[in-house]
Subunit: 509 residues, 2 copies
Amino acid sequence: MLTITGASLIGGHEICGGTGFKAFDPMKCVILEPTFHNATKEEVDTACQLAASAAVAYRQLPRERRAVFLETIADLLEQETDIIVTRAMQETALPQGRLTGEMGRTTGQLRMFARIARAGDVWACKTDEALPDRKPMARPELKQCKVPVGPVAVFCASNFPLAFSVAGGDTASALAAGCPVVCRAHPAHPGTAELVARCICKAVEKCSMPKGVFSLVGGEAYDVGTWLVEHPAIQSVAFTGSCQGGTALAAIGARRATPIPVFAEMGSINPVFLMQDALKNRGADLGAAFVASLTAGTGQFCTNPGLVIALEGAGTEAFIAAAVSALSAQDEGVMLTRGMADSYRKKVGELGAKEGVELLAQSKGAGETTRAKGMFFRASYSTFMKNTCLHQEVFGPCSLLVTCSSFEEMLSLARHLEGQLTVTFQMDAEDMSSAQALLPIIEDKAGRILVNGWPTGVEVCSAMVHGGPFPATTDGRFTSVGGDAIDRFLRPVCYQNFPVELLPADLRP
Amino acid sequence: MLTITGASLIGGHEICGGTGFKAFDPMKCVILEPTFHNATKEEVDTACQLAASAAVAYRQLPRERRAVFLETIADLLEQETDIIVTRAMQETALPQGRLTGEMGRTTGQLRMFARIARAGDVWACKTDEALPDRKPMARPELKQCKVPVGPVAVFCASNFPLAFSVAGGDTASALAAGCPVVCRAHPAHPGTAELVARCICKAVEKCSMPKGVFSLVGGEAYDVGTWLVEHPAIQSVAFTGSCQGGTALAAIGARRATPIPVFAEMGSINPVFLMQDALKNRGADLGAAFVASLTAGTGQFCTNPGLVIALEGAGTEAFIAAAVSALSAQDEGVMLTRGMADSYRKKVGELGAKEGVELLAQSKGAGETTRAKGMFFRASYSTFMKNTCLHQEVFGPCSLLVTCSSFEEMLSLARHLEGQLTVTFQMDAEDMSSAQALLPIIEDKAGRILVNGWPTGVEVCSAMVHGGPFPATTDGRFTSVGGDAIDRFLRPVCYQNFPVELLPADLRP
C-alpha cells in the first residue's frame, strides 16, 4: 500500500530538506495533509547530477529493456489506480470518471512509447555505403542514428494531474528516448505526484534501471523550476502551462552558458469558424455542442474553444440562442486552484468591461472562491481587431463570439490570429469554397485543424500534433502528444567509417 | 552573357538604393569593380513582403514543379560556371579546381533536393484511421503531413562562395521544402553572389514561379542582416559563420514579438584523438596527413582540425616530427579577406603568448596583409584545462596538440570539450577499448564522429550530420548539409476529420 510522506524522491531516496507546504482541496476548500517540502537547491542539484551519471548507462541499455521499464510503470500505476485517483480527486476537484479515464490515457501513453522504443523506427538509422572507387575521391561509409539528448526536466501541468504530469507523455517520451527525467511536481497536486513517482521508483528497482534515471522534486516556489532549467546537467525541458511561465523558462534556457531548448506548451484560444451552410442547417445543435465543449472540465483544457467566429445572420442567432440556453442552465464549476479561479474572475471582468463586448450568457451560481461560472461574450469584428487583449487566452470556461459582416472580415480576422494549438471549421457541403479560402491562412497558424468536431479531446496517436506556432508553444516543429513527442529528445549523430565493434547497437549489421 | 551590375535583385528587379561598396581581390590586394549597394531597410522590407506574398502560391505548387525549378537553377549555374568561377577566384583567392569542385557540389545539392521534393518522403504523411465504433468514444480520422514554415532568410558564408551561399544547401533545402528565400549576400564575394542570383532569377521566370520566391539583398553593413531577422514575414533563418555572428542573430530571433529559430552553424575545433596503437604503427604518416587537412583551403573549413590530443610517447614524437617537417616546407596561404587574416594573426599571437604553449612549427612566408601562415602549437593537459581560451576556434590554419600523461587525462579532456561539428579517432586494432571508453563522452559532444579520416571534407548524403551541440551550432538536432537539412524548414500539421476535397494534395488517397 502506497503512502504519501511529503518527500522529494531523489534517485529513489526520500528527502525532506526544505520548508513545508500543504495541498488544498478546491471542492471542499480545506487544507489536506501531510506536509510537503520545497526541494532545496542542493536537492535539485543532487537529482540533476544523479540523472547525468545515469545517462550513459541508461541510453546504452537495449531498447527492449526501456520498453519493459515503461510497461512496468504502467502496470504499477494500474495496480494503484484507486489510491491515486482518490487523492487526485481531492487535490484537483476533477471527477472520478475523468480521472479514471486520464489514468487509462496515461498507461496507454506509457505502453505506446514502449512500442515505439521496441520498434526503433524513430532512431532513423540510415547508411550511405562506402564508394571506394569514386572519382575524384573515395567516399567513406557514413551511418546515422539518433542519440538521446541527455537528462530532461519535466514540469507537471496543473490541469492533467496524470496524463501531463509525473508519468505523463513528457516523462514517457523522454524515458523511451533514453533520457533520464527530473520531474518537478505541480504544487497543486503534490500527493498525486508523489504516489505516481513512487510507482516509477518501484519500476526502477524492479527493472534494475540505473539510479538517477528518475527523480521527483517538489515545491511551491518558482525557484525549484529555475534551478532545474539552469542546471548544467539538464539538456532539455518539457513544460505545459501558462504563456507567462513557459516564456520565462524559455528565457532561462536561452541565457544559459550552453543554451537548451524549452518545449513549452502554452496558451491558445482555439478559434472555431462557424460557416454559413453549417449554421443554416444546424445552428442550434452547434450552440448546444459548443457549450458542452466550453464547459468540459470547467474549461480547463488547453484546447478549450475560447473564440468563435461567424457571419451575422439567422443561423448565428440560432447558434447564440441555443448556446445561451444551454449555458444559463448549467451550474458553475470548480477550478483546480483558488489562484486560477481568482485569475479567471479578474480576466473575465476585464473582458466584460471592454467597450463593444456584450455578455450573452453565464452559468448559474455565485462564482466565488474556487468556483467559476461559464461566460459567453459577443463582440463585432471591429471591436476584436481594435483590442488585441481579446485575442489572448482566458484560462477557464469563457468564450467570445465575434460576428463578422462579410467573409472578407472573416479572412482578415484569420490573418490576424496568433499561433494556436487548434483551429476548427464547422462546415457543410456549401461551405467548401469558404473553407478552402481560409485553410492556407489557418495552416500557418495552427498545429491541428479540425472539421466538424470540437477541439477539446486530444487523441494519443501517431498523426497527432499537439503543438503549434508561438505563442501556442515555444517551438511549432514539435508536438507534446502522440508518438512524435519523442522527437524532442533525440539528436542525430553521423558515424563515419566506423568499425563494426565501435558502432552503436542499432547501427550494427 | 551574365553581367554584374552591383544591384540587389528583389523579386527579379534590380534595385540600387543604398550606399556603395566594392569587392576586394585578396590575392592581388586590389579593389574590384563595379560598385555594389548596401540594401536599404525599405529594400529589405520589400523583399520580405514579396516573399510573404509568394509563400502560399509557392507551397501549393505540386512538388514536381519545385523539383524542376531546382534542377533548372542547377542547369543555369552549370552553363555559367566559367564566369562564376572566374569572379569567385578574384573575390576569394580560392583556386580554380576547388571552386569548380564546389560548383559541382552546389548543383549536386540542388539536384539532390529536387529528388527529395519529388520523392516526398520527408513530408511524413501518416494517417490514423477513424474508429467510429470505439468505446467510450469514437475516434475521428487523423492525418498528418508537414507544411513549409514560410519565408526563410539565408546568410551566405564567407568560406564557401557557392555551396554555402546564394544557391547553396540552405537555399536549396528551403526552396525544396516550399519556403521562399531572401538571401543576404556575403560582402566578401558580392559579384559571385549576384551572378548566382541572376541564374536563380532566370529559373524563376523560366519555371513561372511566383515573384518573390527569391530575392538577393546585399551589403557590408550588419544592419541588413538585423532587418532581415527582425522582419515579421521571415519565419526561419539559416546562417553559417562565426560564433559571435550566429549568437547575435539567434538573440535577435529570440527577442522578436514572435520568436523564430535561427539555425547558425558556428565554431568548432574538431578534436582529433590520436590513439596509441595508431601512433605506434603510423605516427609519421598521421603527422603528414594532419598537415594536409590543417592547411587545406588555408585552414578555412568549418571542420578544420584545430585540436589534436595524444598521449606522451615515441609515437607522438614521430607524429610531431612529421607534422613539423611538412608544415615548415609549406608556403603561407591567402585568406578570404584582410579582416580574417588580421583576426587570425591576433588570435594566433594570443595563443602563442600563453604560458605553457609552445610553437612547434609554422609555414614559410611573412604572413602579412591577406596572407596567413600555418601554425602548430603544443601544450600539456594541465595547460589546456587551465585556459578555456585554448578550447575555442582560431579560424584559419592553426592547430594545437595537447599531450596527456595518462588515458584518464584524455578522458577528462574529452569531458571538458565544448560541442563540436566533428570529433575524429585515429585508431588501430589495439585501440578499440580506449575508443569504446571515449565514444559515449564524444557522442554527447559532436554531430559527426570519424574513424581514421580527417574532418575536412563533408559528404553531401543522407546520413550526413553537419551540426552538433552548442556552440558548434545553435541547435544540435538539425544539420545544414545532407538530405536532412530540409527538416529545418518543415512543421507538422494534423488534419482531423477532413473531407477529401479540403485535404492538402499530399494527403489525398
